[in-house]
């Protein structure tokens, strides 16, 4: 009897949660869907009935043709890939090592170092654009993927270190000590014992650092806007000139740029969900 009541209330509550989440998901997906299905509509239809689905009269693949012919799109994709994977690799490598050092070792400046990294979380890196621009020019790295990789690595390190620290703290101290007694060095303990145990966290961090990098317009525009180093997102902007806007091509380019992120999500989703829920419970 008394057990039935809370269950009823719980189901009402969970109904509410589902409705709220569904509404949120719909509002998040809607603009994306809008971009995707408008990309296969004629220009007139895009402006005339932007919300209606493509039909027999309005379907038009001209945008994709333009993208395919006009621009250096394979090149842009490659650039985006290099920049994203490069900064992801460096972010994870340094993030993992910094998080391990900060959680595992007590050294003189460790508290201050943690604080310094946390501050990096609070200050948007775009505030430092001018200084970054000057630095990149001084280093002679203008219009190179290296510049972008370095900037994105710096941008993502704080949040990476923070998330990974939380997860590394959950790895049993006894386990690390057992490995030390067996003669494993710190690098071996980190890469051989700790990282396999926090794979979900690493997948989470990977997805969350990768997507903003892939989608970024700001730094490619400022640091690497030459034809040879443009990224997909920057490349798509060429269809939006001051006097001429090719919405078909623009939407087609954006749709294409979503694909890699989507593939990535599907690949990582299991680990990602494990990582998110564990973070939420602990």
């Amino acid at each position: 009897m008394s057990a039935a009541k809370p269950r009823k209330r719980a189901s009402g509550w969970s109904l509410f949660i589902y409705v709220a989440l569904a509404a949120y998901a719909a509002s998040a997906i809607f603009p994306v869907l809008l971009v995707v299905y408008n990309s296969i509509k004629s220009k007139k239809a895009i402006f005339g009935q932007p919300l209606s689905l493509p039909g027999p009269g309005t379907i038009d693949f001209r945008g994709y043709e333009t993208v395919w012919e006009a621009a250096n799109f394979p090149r842009y994709f490659l650039n985006s890939g290099i920049v994203t994977l490069g900064s992801l690799g460096l972010t994870l490598l340094f993030g993992v090592m910094a998080a391990y050092a900060l959680t595992e070792f007590r050294f003189r400046m460790s508290r201050w170092l943690s604080l310094y990294i946390t501050i990096g979380l609070m200050v948007p890196i775009r505030l430092g654009t001018v200084a970054i621009l000057k630095l990149v020019m001084a280093l002679g790295l203008m219009n190179t993927p290296t510049a972008l990789i370095l900037v994105y690595t710096a941008m993502n390190l704080p949040v990476t270190v923070l998330i990974l620290s939380v997860f590394m703290n959950t790895v049993s101290q006894d386990l690390k000590n057992a490995a030390r007694v067996d003669g494993a060095g710190e690098y071996r303990i980190l890469f051989g014992h700790v990282i396999p145990l926090i794979r979900p966290a690493i997948a989470t961090v990977a997805v969350f650092t990768m997507i903003p990098v892939w989608n970024d317009l700001w730094f490619p525009l400022i640091l690497a806007n030459s034809e040879a180093t443009k990224t997909v997102i920057l490349g798509a902007q060429q269809f939006v000139g001051q006097y001429f806007k090719d919405w078909n091509a623009m939407l087609a380019a954006l749709t294409l740029s979503i694909v890699p992120t989507l593939i990535l999500y599907l690949l990582f989703s299991r680990q990602l969900i494990a990582g998110l829920t564990r973070g939420a419970v602990k």
Partner: protein, 379 residues
């Protein structure tokens, strides 16, 4: 095989002193048990010996060699952890072989070593399993096996059995004791469990707040605790403490007056001056209904019949100190009534105002060589 010498070990976490000037010598082949309340520094001391914790001061010698600057793997120790700490993604075989692999020993030698140990611990059938596929007892056996494979000079155990259920704990206790007899290795063992401490140890070291309170053979500590802390810590149920006052001394010992009991003479050395505030200690098991020259009246509050013995909880006179009494067998006692219990003054412990015990005269056990039972001569 080797002895272990700790000299003046100090460990601070920031301003907190966790270990304060620990001196200890463990002879070759001895089984030493560290006991003490939670947070007293047992694990910290063990980790310090293993080299997993930097010392703030002092030195550690294993087999006469100073190991302060050596990594854990170079110290000739092996450690078994409370949480087993098996490598979750390695098989049982690889768990046990890991240390030897890292030491770059030849493959067939590793195999031979692991198989030998697996045979001793009856793990042969489990070698291909992952730790997650083992029961708690099996995991702990693998952890012990991993330690043996390293062929250490000193074994370190940090509460290895506390995650097991009571039956398994009893069984593993015997296995570890057997292992010690077989390997004749020096072993340092941390536990919360009185029975483990009393039965396994050649020597018990009682720690409290980062200091050694007393060390000695289990029965020596039980019958001659050096101070109130050790007296209260060892033995279950723990010793009853009753305030007392010295009124004089005679050849027979210290004459004291205890409210609720009366005057009695406790046979101890170095009797206190008249008027000194003392503490009388009485073990629950030293009471009976018939035997003993003294008696006292207890308001019983709760009676727990356990079959082989009966535990009585109560208070000495109205609102007096709480008392616990353990009687043999199952005498019929009722709660809520005053009952007289008898005891022998020779069984009493007496502590000075500083908590230090006066040496008792009663000899409670004689060396095994004489063939006498450990309980020794009752008068």
């Amino acid at each position: 095989m080797a002895d272990l010498t700790l000299s003046n070990i100090v460990k601070n976490y920031g301003p907190v002193e966790v270990l304060k000037n620990i001196d200890l010598h463990v002879p070759d082949g001895e089984f030493v048990v560290f006991v003490g309340p939670s947070g007293c520094g047992k694990s910290t001391l063990l980790r310090a010996i293993a080299g997993l914790e930097d010392l703030s001061g002092g030195s550690i010698k294993i087999g006469g060699e100073d190991v302060a600057d050596r990594a854990p793997a170079q110290r000739g120790i092996a450690m078994v952890f409370q949480t087993y700490a098996l490598y979750p993604h390695k098989s049982v075989f690889d768990n046990m072989a890991y240390g030897l692999k890292l030491a770059r020993r030849p493959r067939d030698q590793i195999r031979a070593e692991v198989m030998k140990v697996a045979k001793i611990l009856e793990l042969e059938a489990l070698l291909d399993r992952k730790p997650a596929q083992l029961s708690g007892g099996q995991r702990q056996r693998v952890a012990i096996g991993r330690a043996i494979v390293r062929d250490p000079k000193v074994f370190l155990f940090d509460e290895p059995l506390s995650n097991l259920d009571a039956a398994l704990r009893g069984q593993m206790r015997i296995e570890i004791a057997d292992l010690h007899a077989r390997l004749k290795a020096t072993m340092v063992y941390v536990t919360h469990d009185q029975i483990e401490a009393m039965t396994m140890a050649d020597r018990i070291v009682v720690l409290n707040a980062g200091r050694i309170e007393q060390q000695g053979a289990p029965l020596e500590l039980y019958h001659h605790p050096a101070n109130l802390f050790v007296a209260g810590f060892l033995g279950a149920p723990s010793m009853n403490f009753v305030p007392a006052r010295a009124i004089g001394a005679s050849a027979a010992g210290a004459e004291i007056e205890v409210e609720g009991i009366g005057r009695l003479t406790v046979p101890v050395d170095g009797a206190p001056a008249a008027g000194t505030a003392l503490t009388l200690g009485l073990r629950p098991h030293d009471f009976s209904l018939e035997r003993g020259g003294m008696d006292c009246e207890i308001d019983t509050v709760l009676v727990e019949p356990l079959g082989h013995e009966t535990i009585v909880y109560g208070a000495l006179r109205d609102g007096g100190p709480r008392m616990t009494i353990a009687l043999e067998g199952g005498p019929l006692l009722r709660t809520g009534v005053k009952t007289r219990f008898r005891f022998d003054p020779a069984d009493c412990h007496l502590f000075g105002p500083d908590g230090i015990a006066y040496r008792r005269r009663k000899q409670h056990f004689t060396p095994l060589a004489s063939g006498a039972s450990e309980q020794g001569a009752n008068p």
